[in-house]
């Protein structure tokens, strides 16, 4: 769980200046949802830690893990922020924006956000060929061939996994990752 952002706390203070204490406490207790993009960025940053790529996926032992982000500039923003100064599996994480037509060959993770739903099919096909771990935030992400797909479960962001897609992408999802997946499917229905 991420700490509540300071800016939000200041805002709360500003809002509640004249609001009765009970109301203020009720608002605090409600745990107002953190922006989804922040959580998605955090998850994206964590996923590589639970995934095994083929040996030739990285040029050198300290080559960066490159995460391409398409159709989610907020996520890209947040991911760039999160990845700064942090290592995953001993490698730095690099976030980069991807759009249709860009070669997915030098990236390891491709996130396709809602805003890129139209290009999703094209991006997906290229990505699968390039052994890229695909993550979507689309209504039928898994169906479109993604390995992982963000879903909302009980108001909380979770993800679903497709073992068939992972197999096709030639990446291995660790059992630990699967143990926290909201749903694991063999093949997209």
């Amino acid at each position: 769980m991420r700490p509540v952002p300071t800016s939000w706390k200041s805002c709360q203070r500003w809002l509640g200046g004249v609001v009765v204490a009970v109301l203020a406490m009720a608002v605090a207790r409600a745990q107002a949802p953190i922006e989804e993009a922040v959580v998605e960025a955090a998850y994206l940053h964590k996923f590589p830690g639970f995934v095994d790529w083929p040996a030739d996926a990285f040029k050198t032992p300290d080559s960066p893990i490159v995460i391409g982000v398409a159709g989610a500039h907020r996520v890209l923003e947040e991911l760039t922020k999160v990845a700064r100064g942090r290592l995953v599996l001993g490698r730095p994480v690099e976030a980069r924006a991807i759009s249709a037509g860009d070669s997915p060959h030098d990236i390891h993770v491709l996130f396709i956000g809602k805003d890129a739903a139209a290009e999703a099919q094209v991006l997906m096909e290229e990505a699968i060929k390039a052994h890229v771990l695909t993550v979507t935030d689309l209504p039928a992400g898994l169906k479109s061939g993604a390995v992982l797909d963000f879903v909302q479960v009980d108001g909380r962001l979770r993800f679903e996994a497709s073992l068939g897609a992972a197999h096709r992408a030639d990446v291995k999802l660790s059992s630990k990752l699967l143990s926290v997946a909201a749903r694991v499917v063999e093949e997209a229905p």
Binding site: M1, R2, P3, V39, Y43, K46, G49, F50, R86, L87, V88, L89, R156, L157, R158, F159, S174, K176, L177, S179, V180
Partner: protein, 632 residues
């Protein structure tokens, strides 16, 4: 005893050291075990926590409390874990596990751990563990578990106590045996020592011990007791011996005193009649008949005194083993006749009836005729002395194949039974009151018995008691065969004529010299007397006698020097020299021989003896060899 006994002290020391050793041992082991159990418990829980933490990483990373709770539920397998709680990186509770609903929730919140690590209490162990993922803390796992370290420690302590009790018991048994081997023997030695000290019983001994060193102690103690016992018993024996010896000495001393008194009495007795006789002889008006009687008295009394001293000397010689018998075949009947002849005048004087049945045929025995005569004359003399006037004395002989017996029976005062054995002992006499008027020294019977024993015979006395008379019996072994030549019993007056011989007598005792002169002149010998050594030498050189009878102790020139001077002079060297001296030791005889004397006589010597010796010397025609009747 005031001091503590060895046994108590040993037991106390043993118990103390053993207990301290056990307690120290048990304490150290329990402390060590506690630390080990604690470390084990912590390590085990830590392992569990590490495994669990790894499993919790994805739940924490992907914010999945359900998954975390499911992971925690695996702790149900571990019954000791009471509670577990997962906190997110910002410290908020993320998931939790409770073994029972009773366990309070959010323990770290109420009781936060000061730092990451473990907290160990009496029965619980708490641990917090930070969960990391990719070098980033993603949360904290908190575990709380029950532990049984104290319980195990308790069991361990109980086991230790049991082992200690059993070991102590065993040790006590072993120690008891060892103590028995060490303390008991020492205690027994101590007891024996106490008893010995209190009862003075040196015969007591301490029993042997099994332990070598202790046994050495016991043996040394016993050895000392034995030595003390030996010493003390030897001391007692020595004291007893000395007391006995002292008693013997006192008795001997008393007998000697009595003997001296008797001796003085005995010697004085004949002096009175001699004094009377002398005074009679001095008076010029004394009739020849009275003079003869006086001479007779003098003669008898002198002989009596001489005999006393002879007997004494004989007893002394026998006692010191210096008397030798001149053994030959002797006719005992002849000896008896001689003895009867000697005693007959005495018996007649006391009006005693003397009956003797002596066979005419000879009865041969091997012995010294003079000594046998002494024995029988002694016995007869005793019989006369102790038989009142008018009494009777019988002498009878009997013989068989083994020997000959002579009985001398009187009707005298008799001897009480208790005294019969002692009559033969030196200086012993019958009742002194009976002795009054009947003179005797208590020597005669002693001498008689010793002489008979020297002949291989026996002498004994029988008496029915006081006033009933007594019988002395002498038994002698008979000779195997009759002798080839008859040995003559010396008889007085049987001397060959010595007329014409010249003899020089030298003695500073004028009486002795003159009396001897008279005796020798009566035998027809020409006698010259002198009274000192120089006069003797002058007389010998002037007159050249055939024989000289010289005293040893003389003024002017003593006998030895005189003899040497005579021998040195050619004119006098052929003179036969007789020494007559009061000194009768063997050394005196040797000195006389060396000085040149032919024979040595001890005073008193009778004129008859000298006459015999003179006759022998003259008959042989040469100086006789140095043999004599009275040499010692």
């Amino acid at each position: 005893m005031i001091a503590t006994s060895l046994r108590k002290q040993l037991t106390k020391a043993f118990m103390l050291t053993t207990l301290v050793a056990f307690a120290l041992n048990a304490g150290l082991i329990v402390a060590y075990e506690f630390e080990r159990y604690r470390e084990e418990a912590v390590a085990e829980l830590h392992t569990q926590e590490t495994i669990l933490a790894k499993a919790l990483v994805p739940s924490l990373v992907f914010n999945d409390p359900e998954a975390a709770a499911q992971q925690l539920s695996s702790l149900e397998e571990r019954r000791d874990v009471l509670a577990a709680e997962v906190f997110s990186a910002n410290g908020r509770p993320f998931a939790q596990y409770r073994r029972t609903p009773l366990v309070p929730a959010s323990l770290p919140a109420q009781n936060p751990l000061p730092s990451l690590g473990s907290r160990f209490s009496n029965d619980e162990l708490e641990m917090a563990y930070d969960v990391f993922h990719d070098g980033e803390r993603v949360g904290t796992l908190y575990l709380r578990a029950r532990h049984d370290v104290l319980k195990r420690l308790g069991s361990y302590a109980v086991i230790q106590a049991l082992v200690m009790a059993v070991s102590l018991g065993l040790a006590l048994v072993v120690f008891g045996r060892v103590r028995g081997r060490i303390v008991e023997p020492i205690a027994r030695v101590a007891k024996v020592a106490e008893t010995v000290i209190s009862e003075r019983d040196w015969k007591l001994r301490a029993p042997a011990a099994e332990t070598r060193e202790i046994d050495a102690l016991v043996q040394a103690f016993n050895g000392m007791l034995a030595e003390v016992e030996a010493n003390s018993s030897e001391l007692r024996r020595e004291v007893a011996e000395r007391e006995r010896a002292e008693q013997d000495l006192r008795a001997g001393d008393r007998r000697k005193d009595e003997f001296l008194a008797t001796l003085a009495h005995e010697i004085r007795n004949p002096l009175a009649p001699m004094m009377n006789a002398l005074s009679l002889l001095r008076r010029e008006d004394t009739l020849p008949k009275v003079r003869d009687k006086a001479l007779g008295i003098l003669d008898r009394q002198l002989r009596h005194v001489i005999r006393l001293i002879d007997d004494l000397l004989d007893v002394s010689r026998i006692t010191t083993g210096k008397l030798s018998l001149q053994m030959s075949n002797v006719d005992l009947n002849q000896v008896l006749r001689s003895a009867l002849e000697l005693i007959e005048p005495v018996a007649r004087a006391r009006r005693l009836e003397l009956e003797a049945a002596i066979p005419a045929s000879p009865c041969w025995v091997i012995g010294d005729s003079a000594r046998l005569l002494q024995v029988f004359s002694n016995l007869l003399s005793n019989a006369c002395r102790y038989t009142p006037e008018g009494g009777r004395i019988d002498v009878g002989t009997r013989s068989d194949s083994h020997g000959v017996g002579v009985d001398i029976t009187d009707t005298g005062v008799g001897i009480e039974p208790a005294f019969q054995e002692r009559v033969f002992e030196l200086f012993e006499q019958g009742d002194k009151s009976l002795e009054r008027g009947n003179t005797g020294l208590g020597i005669g019977l002693t001498l008689s018995r010793q002489l008979v024993l020297l002949h291989g015979g026996t002498i004994r006395v029988a008496s029915d008691g006081i006033g009933r008379g007594s019988t002395f019996t002498v038994e002698l072994p008979t000779a195997v065969s009759a002798p080839q030549n008859l040995a003559e019993v010396p008889a007085a007056g049987n001397l060959q004529s010595l007329a014409g011989i010249h003899i020089l007598v030298a003695d500073d005792n004028v009486d002795f010299a003159e009396s001897l002169q008279v005796a020798l002149e009566s035998a027809g010998i020409a006698v010259r007397t002198v009274n000192d050594g120089r006069a003797a030498l002058a007389a010998a050189q002037a007159h050249e006698p055939d024989l000289a009878i010289l005293d040893i102790g003389m003024p002017g020139l003593n006998g030895y020097d005189l003899a040497r001077a005579l021998r040195a002079d050619a004119a006098t060297t052929a003179i036969v020299l007789f020494a007559v001296s009061g000194w009768g030791q063997a050394s005196d005889k040797d000195l006389a021989s060396q000085a040149g004397f032919d024979r040595h006589f001890v005073k008193p010597v009778t004129p008859e003896t000298l006459l015999e010796a003179i006759a022998e010397a003259m008959a042989s025609g040469r100086r006789p060899s140095m043999v004599g009747t009275r040499e010692t």
